[in-house]
Symmetry: C2
Subunit: 228 residues, 2 copies
DNA sequence: GCAGTTGTTTATCGCCCGATCACTAATTAA
DNA sequence: TTAATTAGTGATCGGGCGATAAACAACTGC
């Protein structure tokens, strides 16, 4: 309320950080700020949260848009490890186990209010960034998962998944994704155990994939299709 | 670019609409506008799109926020029919058929750039509206679906679905939902046939539900759980 | 045709926004 | 100690925002 008193910070006491450290500190705090306020949030409010004055931002970033681009970079590109692809393809371990471990790790990164809200804000802004992210998920994750599901269901290996297979993987993946959205964005009640949610979803995917695409379960599949 | 020339619209020619018609026209156009620009879009730009001047909006709506509330109302509340609950529970028809018909109708309503973007913008704004929408989906749709899945899997009827069952229904429902998001918000390529996507997802749900929760498939279930 | 009512515009207010500039304080190098 | 460099601030600019008030234009009933 009474933000009138300028408080007169004791400027001399706190240790001065190196320029790069300071910059990173600004980006990190800005990420939290924009996650809450959206990219329409003002630079003055942001500066207030950083404990500095607004013009100082312009010493570290040429414009607000440049700052936002840095926020994107740290949120999207940094966390995407490449050990994940290997994990998914490691056939010395059961597929269920691999999938559960992968999604435990993946959701460990993206299931936070900050990550998800930045993701949606940038998506609504129409940035090509989201489209490219969707492409990465498709190529690095879903294509691998389908390959393993085909193997699990006793189907012949083929490099390219069919559009229908890819779509089923998307439905599965998005279902898990949306658990995080409900919990961290809508703050709606969810199943308390994330692990069980993932476990059940993985089981359903493997069973469903075999049911829809499997040859070894042709009897079931025919019965399914006959109803339609 | 050269918006300088005021264009001097021929004001006398166009027929004057009744006040209520005019109001509804404004709300409809405002919905499209906010879906694209977000609720941060300016009233001047909106008025320009409506072909009127900005102060005129304030004769029809006391404030910008009131206009936004009307937009919510028409987007969320109007389309939600109540024949859907009956459709889901109609056991004279096969479950697969009911689910496919329901999701064909449901996605027919919500799968549009307009609907989905308004949904996300309001969700990010922190409005309680989204949380209540989530509650409606849970009670009116998912609870019914689980009841029918239990019946299909030969399980005893119980009124309240378990949290794990509800979560599996959410994963399934969200997976379908996200097909629309990918197509209409991210404008990413999707399986061209929405019907097949729904059909496969429904098949996977029924097979997956039986696999995870079914008693008649206890052997498979035990095998599944043993891996973990 | 005129009065009253309703629809619409022009002009404007106060506010907040992103950005810039000139200045001061703190740190570093000699 | 002093000169140069860097970090940070206060004041301010032009512009867009939501909202208001007063004037004007167009219908309506008499």
């Amino acid at each position: 309320m009474s933000k009138k008193t300028p408080v007169k910070r004791a400027r001399t006491k706190q240790r001065r950080l190196s320029p790069e450290e300071r910059r990173q500190e600004f980006v990190a705090k800005a990420t939290e700020f924009f996650a809450e306020e959206g990219f329409g949030g003002g630079t003055r409010a942001l500066a207030r949260r950083l404990g500095v004055t607004q013009p100082l931002l312009y010493r570290y970033f040429p414009s607000k848009d440049d700052l936002i681009k840095e926020v994107y970079r740290t949120v999207y590109l940094e966390p995407f490890g490449d050990g994940w692809e290997k994990l998914l393809g490691d056939r010395t371990r059961p597929l269920r186990e691999r999938l559960k471990e992968f999604y435990a790790a993946y959701t460990g990164v993206i299931f936070s209010r900050k990550w998800l809200r930045i993701y949606f804000y940038s998506g609504l802004k129409g940035l090509e960034l989201n489209r490219s992210y969707v492409g990465i998920v498709r190529d690095k994750i879903l294509t691998r998962i389908i390959r393993e599901c085909r193997n699990e269901a006793g189907l012949s290996a083929q490099n390219k998944p069919s559009a229908a297979e890819l779509e089923m993987a998307w439905v599965f993946h998005s279902g898990i994704f949306y658990y995080g959205v409900r919990k961290f964005v809508y703050e709606a009640p969810v199943l308390e155990s994330k692990e069980q949610m993932i476990s059940d979803a993985v089981d359903a995917l493997i069973a469903g994939f075999a049911s829809v695409f499997g040859e070894k379960e042709e009897a079931r599949k025919v019965a399914v299709k006959a109803v339609v």
